[in-house]
Every structure is written in C-alpha cells, then in structure tokens.
Subunit: 573 residues, 2 copies
C-alpha cells in the first residue's frame, strides 16, 4: 500500500512560477526576510516530515481507531509519537508570532503544510487542526491573563484546543445553544451543559486540552446574539482536573483516528473570552480561517486518492486497451485504458486547479493582514470572503466524489481495505459536513456575500481575474467570455432575487458551482501559460477543458432559467 | 432509526397505470392466469414480508458482520432465521418453473421483490441474489443428472449457489483465469485453484453451497475461449465434505452482512456444465440477468436512503427557511429548506424514473422468453441488451451519489452510525463495481452493442419510445426532440468511430449518460401524463426537469465535440 508522499516541486510550480508568491510575500513587512530559498527549504522539510512521520500511522488510525477507557481517550498506535515529533519540530507554530514562540512564517506555507498533513493522515491532523484558530481567537479577544497562561502553550502545540459549538438539539443552528455559564465572585464562570461532535474533546496527545465553549449567560437574549465564549481547560491552572468529561466517542463512517466526543460540563470552571453575548463574533474568527483549511483538506485527500490510484494503474495489468497491442504482455496497464486515464487526469485537474485558487486565497490572507495599503488589504479581504466558501464546498465535494472515482480504478480491490483507498473515501465524506455544511457555504456565498451589494463585490473580483488573462490567447479569451457571462448572471440574479427572496436559496448551489468552474478555468488558463510545457501539466489541462468545464454552461443554464421563471411570473399579463 | 418499508402503491402506479404490465403479462401463455389481482396480492405480501422479516437484522449485518471461525462462516445474528422464513415463504422460487418447485410468476415480480430485498438488507440479499441465475444456468446447460440433483434444491433456495470467476491476478479480465479442471475416469472433474471475491462462498444459511466455477481444461486454448464451467458442491451427493474451503473473508468498505470469500479448490470434485471451453457462454446467461438485478439494487438502496432522509427531514427542525415564518416553532423543519427539498425530490426523480425503465426491462425479459411472435421477442431482446448496461451503470452510480446526498440531509448526524444512513452509502458503493464495473458497462453498451450495427438497433429503440409520446404535449415534444438529437449523435459517433477506433472508449461513459437521461426524460413524460396528478408525482417530475435533465445537453456536447475533433483531424488540409 502506498502512503502519501508530498511533492514540493508540484506546489512550487503553482506558488512560485504561476502565483509569484515569494516576491508578493517578501514585499510584506513581517516577511521581508522570508525569501524564495527559505520558503523552498520549509516546503522540502515539511514534505519529508509528513511522508516519514505523519503518513505511516494513518492505517492504524483507521483500523484500530480511538478508544474511550474509563473516561480517557486512547489515540491509535503511533499517534502520540508522531504528534510529539510534530511539536518538537516546531510545525504547529509555523505562522504564529515569534513573541508567542512561533516562527512568524506566512499563512500560505501553513496552508500547504496542513494540506499535506491531511492528505497523509486526516485523523491525526484533526488534533492540531484547530490550534491556529484558537490561537488567533485568544490573541484577539482574550484578556492579558488568559493570553499569558494559554497563548504560547497553544501556539507551540504543547496544549491542544477544541471548539465546543454543537449541541444535540442544535446542529448548524447555533442560536439554539443552551449550555449555561454563570459568573462567579472571583471573575470566573461556571459552565454547565452538554456538547456533541467535539473533535479531540478528550485524548492522550497533550497534558491539557483547552476548550472554547459557546454558552449563554443567565440574562442573555435568546438566539445567536445571546451567545458568549468561555475558555474551559481540562486542567485548571493549579493542575487539578476541571469538571469536564468525555461521555462517549461516536462511531463514524470514517476519520476513526480522530475522537469525536460527546462532552459534559458539570459546573466546570472557565473564563470569558471577549465581551458577553459577543461569543459568535469571537468564534467566527476561528471558523473563517478553518474553512480554507477544510478546502485544503479536501484537495489533500483527493491528491492522496490520486497518488494511490495512479500507482496502482501503473502496476496492474487488465485486458487490452484500444490501439496497437505492444508485444510481450498478455494485458495492458490499467493506466492505458481511456476510462482510467480520464479519471486520473480529471482528479489531477481538480487538485492542481483547486490548489492554485486555494494558495492564492492563503496569500491573500497574508496580504489582508499585512499589506501597507488599506485598499489592497480590503481587496484581499474581499477575495477571501467570496472565494473561501466556494473552495470549501467545491473542493470537499470533489474530495469525496473524486476519491470514489479513484477507488473505481482498483475495481473490486478498491472496495476491500487492502489498498487503503476506501479509507480515503470514508474519511473525505466528513469534510462536506463540518465547518458549515456545503449547503450552508452556498447560502453564505450568495445570500450573505454576493447579493447584499447587488453583486458589485463579486463583479469586481471577476474583473480582477479577467485582467490577469491575455486576450490574445484563444484559451484566455474563452475564459474571459465566461467570466463576463458570470458577471451578467450575477446581475440578473440580484434583480430576480429582489422580486423573489426565496430564489437565491434554490439556486445557491448551482451559483457556487458556476463560480468554482469559472475560477478553475482562470486557474488553468494561467497554469497552461506559465507552468512548464510538458505532459505533467498538459494532461490535466486537457482533462479540465474536456470533462470539467462543460459543467459551467450546464449550471449557468440552470440559474438563468430559474431567474427567467421569476421574471415571467412577475411580468404583467 | 427507520428501517426500510416497501410501498407497493408506488410500484403499482408505475407497473399498472403507466406500463400496463398486468395486461401485457397475462397475454403471455405461461402467465394467462396471472391477473392484476394476483399480482397485487404478491406485491402486498412481499412488501409486508420484506419490512417485517428482512429489514430488521440489517443493522446487525453491518455492525457485527460475518466471521470466519475454523473455516466456517457465521452470518450475523438474525440472518439464518430471516433466510429460513424467506425459503419457507416460497420467495426464492417466485419465477422458477412449477415443475422445478417454483411458482412460475413473471420475472418482473421477482425484479420488484429483489429491489425491495436489497433496499431492506443488501447484505442478506446477496445470498439468494445468484439463485435465479444459477437456476437458469443449470436448467439450460446442465446434464439431466445435474438437473435432477440440483435444480429444485436451487429453485427453492434450500441450497444456495455462487459464481466463482475472479482470481487474484485477473479481476474483470476472465481470459486470464488459471484454475484447472482435469477429467476423471468416472466422468467427474478434479478442480484445483484459487478464487477471490466470492460472495457467499461459505456461510451457515444452508447445508450445501453449489459453486459454479470457471476453469480451464488441460488442453484448453489460451484466453477467454478456453474456459469451462464446472459445478462444485460444498457437500458431495453422498453427504461428505468436498475439498473446497474458505481461506479468508475480506474486510470491506461495507456490505458486511455478506461474506466475500477467498476460496481454495484442492482437487475438489465437480461436474462439467455445458460444453468444454464454452463456460463463458454458459456463465453469461447468469451475468446478463444479474446486471438488471444490480441496477434494481441501486434503485432499492437509493429508495432506502431517501426514506431515511425524508423521515429525518420531517422530524428535525433547523434554522429558518426562506418565506413567511410560521408561528410557534423557533426553527423550520429541515424538509422546508430549498436545498434539502432539492436533494429529496431529485433522488425521488431517479428512483421513480429509474424504476419505470427497469420494470419495463423486466417485462421485456418476460416478453423475450414467452411471446408467441418471434419479431416481438427479438425487439424485447434488443431492449434488454441495450438498456441493461445503461441501467446498471447509471442506477448504481446514483445509488452511491444520491445516498451520499441523503446523508447530507442529516448534517453531522449522517456521518455517525446512529441513523444508519452512512451504511447505505458504504453498502451502495460496491454496486458500481461488481457484475462488471460501470466503465465496462459503458464499453459494453457502445462498443459491443451500439456500434457493431452502426447504431441501427439503438436508433430503432429510440423510435419505439418516441412513438409512445404525444407530440401535442409540449413536454413530450421536447423529449422527442432530444431523442432525435440522440439518434443523430449515435450516427455521428458511428462514423467518427470508423475513422478513429479509440474514440468510443473515450466517450463511452458520456454516451451511456446521454442515453440514461433521454430514457429518464421519456419515463417522466409518461409518468407525468399517466400517474395521479398530485404532489407525490409532480414534485419529482419538476426536480427531474430542473436538475437532472440539464445533464443531457452537457454530455451530448462532450460526445459531439469529441467526434468533431476526430473529423477535423482527418479532414484534408
């Protein structure tokens, strides 16, 4: 069985050759000394570390999984050692500030690292997956005392963190949260209630676990505006055990390496983060950053599935492919059959194209934080707001469906555990659900982000990418035509939605897909022009044009007809 | 957790109201006495039996699964009792000939029964799933002595049967089979070799298991034309144990209720079925019948996923749906959110439309066997040959993807075992692989069935369904236009394939999808006209037109452009 091995050269083509990221980043003040050589070194080291340390225990993570014994979760064999090496190597602190014990590197390098970590071992990566968000949350909203006690422990990964949002009666609907926090005389809070679906709520990877718990103060208003965020550590500052316990871990379709915990807070002690009733705002800082990482998980898992299928297809022989029969063997390589080549090249098109968009988004995160020009920061912010939900939904859907296509390459051998491909399919499925289901991403994009300004922000973004293309090239001109169609569609949709407020909810998913395919078309036009002119990049580009791009017209048509139906209905008789 | 409950009324609308099956069937000599009332009674009884006896042990089938202990497979709790009830109720013999202990009912009723069985308990249904094929195989190709010993035991389900095809080095590529059969002086054969992926190769459901083993005689030519079929029972006629054993059962993604066995034949005793070196022909009788049943498994599993999701969506409340807020509740039913309605109605469109095509195919199986007019038999035969691979590939793909959509309705609760929906997704995945992978179905359709006569057979089939539509209705006229486009595409493709023999392999999948969507469009035009005019049928019809039908143009375009590329290449400069 192949375990995942990152290919830093592939990433460098996208990051350096196409996106020119090293120059863009070192123009930002905090990264003045982060030159191309340093970035290359970080990626090479990260690639080696992921392949040698993180990937090997992935299989036991699935087959043995986590177990709850006397209220304590035992992680799968090899997970503790791998996590220890991860902390010792300084990887958790890659983009944390140097004053908190971090390395102060750009967010985009952390993004690539987490993509590879997820590809190699999704279950283990869940554990540190929330560190960065928790770090930002405490850094921006925590009191000085909380920062002093928790910030560097979290930045370095010495302690791990959780987000405790969901309750049994309230899934995506956080307004229904009932967990209560009551202020005590000493400034602390007593937290009482139950939470479900808490990734890493209990484990043996670190001595302490820092829970960020969404709860309701006694006098809080109903709904989402009455929620507060309270930090509840597993161990209190004096070393004693806090009244927080793991009642059960869920049996899941996959991701067995990550304990999904049902947690109880029995008057546990905690401290408020940020203002009372402003918990959702503090938490959303974490959630937005987390969504890009979930998109990258999707791309990583798809790349992992592709690596397995590609290796198998170049080793196994089955039947005759069309074309002249080469001498010697009784059958051709699986990779020589057109149906299989199509599967492999199409997934490659998604991974490479998706990466270009995701890495650009990560660079924009750095720009939005650090550029000197507020207009540039604002434009970068707009990119992140609009593109993140698109990436999250589209890349995770492709992770699951594309991994399933890769499974198909193995025939019956894909359905049994032997080659590890079915694990990727099962693991990938959860990414379509957590950090906001893909349906919620689509509504976030269209209803909350595109329509409120009548589509102006999206239109400006589409102009921005249009202007990076070269109208003299046929392929680029074709993409520019599609971007114009999408701008027109956005305006049409904004007008139709004004007449019929339910319409955007009905076409949100199609609209998100149109945007994703358009961005992929932009990405492949740029890769096709700027990447090395060889089969490595030409094959997925051809696959993109032939098999992925046609969805653009199909989805565009679906949205257009829905708008026309509204207009026809409203027209005077 | 909801267990599956068949809805005979839904099936009757399709079978009786739309397809007029009872009249068509009772016009066939063997079914002269099978009137509408008898058919209704069989379906009602079957529905009750499946819901009450077959569905309940499904969950244990997944969670406990099969175990190999000292060479014997123990099936999950409840499986033996459920199978016993299945045999005692006479269900395995539903369409077997009365002289063999069967009930002589039409194949279409058996098709509906197996769809429901698979929906309720895919794992258990695998066991009797091959009975019918083995029965037909022995009936048509077995010696009188083999028939005397095995036919009624198999028809009644007292003994179960397997198909032993695959070997470790040869998956779909049967030409590579190496298992050897050597003739003995007494007319029997010695069988030696290993087989993998043998469903039900060993179990405790019946006293005897009859293996139909594909092997090679010592003097046989290489490749697929040197294969013979040998019957190897687990217990020999004198009651002693034959030298056939189960070495291992596979760990799989799903379908844990069905043991997938690695089998060894150590000079086991067997008897030839049919002619030497003609084993594949004898086996293909089984495989063609089996493919329609796999399509029906797909539809059944999708219906099971839909039932679970529909029930959950009408019970759980989450957030506000667009539109006026009804008083009272703090959140709306999940079913009221447009993204969820879309998922539910779209799957319903696939199940109902797919059923219409599949039931018609099953009726055509009966017609092909029993109609007095050889021309009618031939036309029915053509329908089965062309439509079966389309149904197998498209319905099983939708089973997996659609069940995954249904999982999405549950949010995080879908990813955990609690509601049983993730089991459906895992179980369904195998249907895309077995009985010929979906890629093989697409090649079977285009390369082996459509192109050899230049598309004439497919064209005739499309005219046949076109003529059942009413051009005066707008919807029907639209479908007729699409059927004409598909005929034209078929001709174009036949010409382009003559110039470039690799082309059909590259577009086989798209072509199969175009055919399926066209047949679904025909199906929904007929359902829309003939089924009760209420929301039960109107909602999936609308979903079909809005969200499924647009794929027709997309796929048509992909095939067309591929043909044009060939023509452009070949055109004189």
């Amino acid at each position: 069985m192949t375990t995942y091995r990152p290919r830093p050269d592939d990433v460098r083509v996208l990051l350096n050759t196409v996106l020119d990221a090293p120059a863009r980043l070192s123009a930002l003040a905090p990264f003045a000394e982060v030159d191309e050589a340093l970035q290359a070194q970080v990626l090479d080291e990260a690639g080696k570390f992921v392949a040698e340390v993180i990937a090997p225990p992935n299989r036991d993570g699935d087959e043995i999984g986590c177990r709850l014994v006397d209220g304590e979760v035992r992680t799968p064999p090899g997970f503790r050692a791998a996590y220890r090496a991860f902390v010792d190597g300084g990887w958790p602190a890659l983009s944390a500030a140097p004053e908190d014990g971090g390395q102060g590197l750009p967010a985009v390098l952390e993004a690539v690292l987490y993509e590879w970590l997820s590809a190699a071992n999704h279950g283990l990566t869940m554990a540190p997956g929330l560190l960065h968000g928790a770090y930002e949350c405490i850094r921006h909203h925590g009191s000085d005392e909380l920062k002093r006690q928790y910030l560097s422990k979290i930045a370095t990964g010495e302690w791990l963190a959780t987000m405790c949002l969901t309750e049994a009666h309230a899934g995506s609907d956080l307004g229904q949260v009932r967990t209560r926090a009551t202020a005590q005389a000493d400034g602390s809070f007593r937290v009482a209630g139950g939470k479900i679906f808490i990734s890493g709520g209990e484990h043996d990877l670190t001595d302490n676990i820092v829970h960020l718990v969404l709860c309701r103060l006694p006098d809080a208003p109903a709904g989402p505006k009455g929620l507060s965020l309270v930090l509840v550590p597993k161990r209190l500052p004096d070393g004693t055990r806090n009244a927080v316990l793991c009642e059960r871990i869920e049996e899941k379709m996959g991701l067995h390496g990550s304990p999904t915990c049902v947690m109880r807070f029995d008057d546990a002690t905690g401290w408020l983060i940020g203002e009372p009733n402003r918990g959702l705002a503090a938490m959303f800082v974490m959630m937005n950053a987390a969504r890009l990482h979930v998109a990258l998980q999707g791309l990583g898992l798809l790349d992992a599935a592709w690596q397995k299928a590609d290796a198998y297809a170049h080793e196994r022989r089955q039947m005759r492919a069309p074309g002249p029969a080469p001498g010697g063997e009784a059958a051709d390589l699986v990779a020589e059959h057109p149906a299989i080549r199509r599967i492999l090249d199409t997934q490659r098109a998604w991974v490479d194209g998706g990466r270009l968009i995701a890495y650009r988004t990560a660079v924009q995160l750095d720009v939005a934080r650090h550029d000197a020009d507020p207009k540039v920061r604002e434009r970068a912010q707009r990119w992140c707001a609009l593109v993140t939900p698109v990436l999250k939904a589209a890349c995770t859907q492709q992770a699951f469906h594309g991994a399933s296509e890769c499974l198909q390459v193995f025939g019956g051998h894909g359905y049994v555990r032997e080659w590890g491909i079915e694990q990727v399919v099962r693991d990938a499925r959860v990414t379509m659900i957590y950090e906001g289901t893909n349906e919620i991403q689509a509504i976030d994009l269209l209803v909350r982000k595109v329509l409120p300004d009548g589509g102006a922000g999206m239109s400006a973004l589409l102009v921005e990418v249009r202007d990076e293309l070269d109208a003299a090239r046929d392929i680029d001109a074709d993409v520019q035509r599609r971007l114009a169609q999408l701008r027109y569609l956005t305006t049409t949709l904004a007008m139709a939605a004004a007449a019929e407020p339910a319409l955007p909810y009905e076409v949100a998913d199609d609209y998100l897909r149109v945007v994703m395919i358009a961005l992929l078309a932009w990405a492949w036009a740029r890769i096709g022009r700027e990447a090395p002119q060889d089969a490595r990049w030409a094959a997925p580009e051809a696959a993109f044009r032939r098999w992925v791009l046609p969805e653009f017209e199909m989805r565009l048509g679906i949205v257009k007809r829905a708008c026309e139906a509204v207009t026809a209905q409203r027209a005077p008789a």
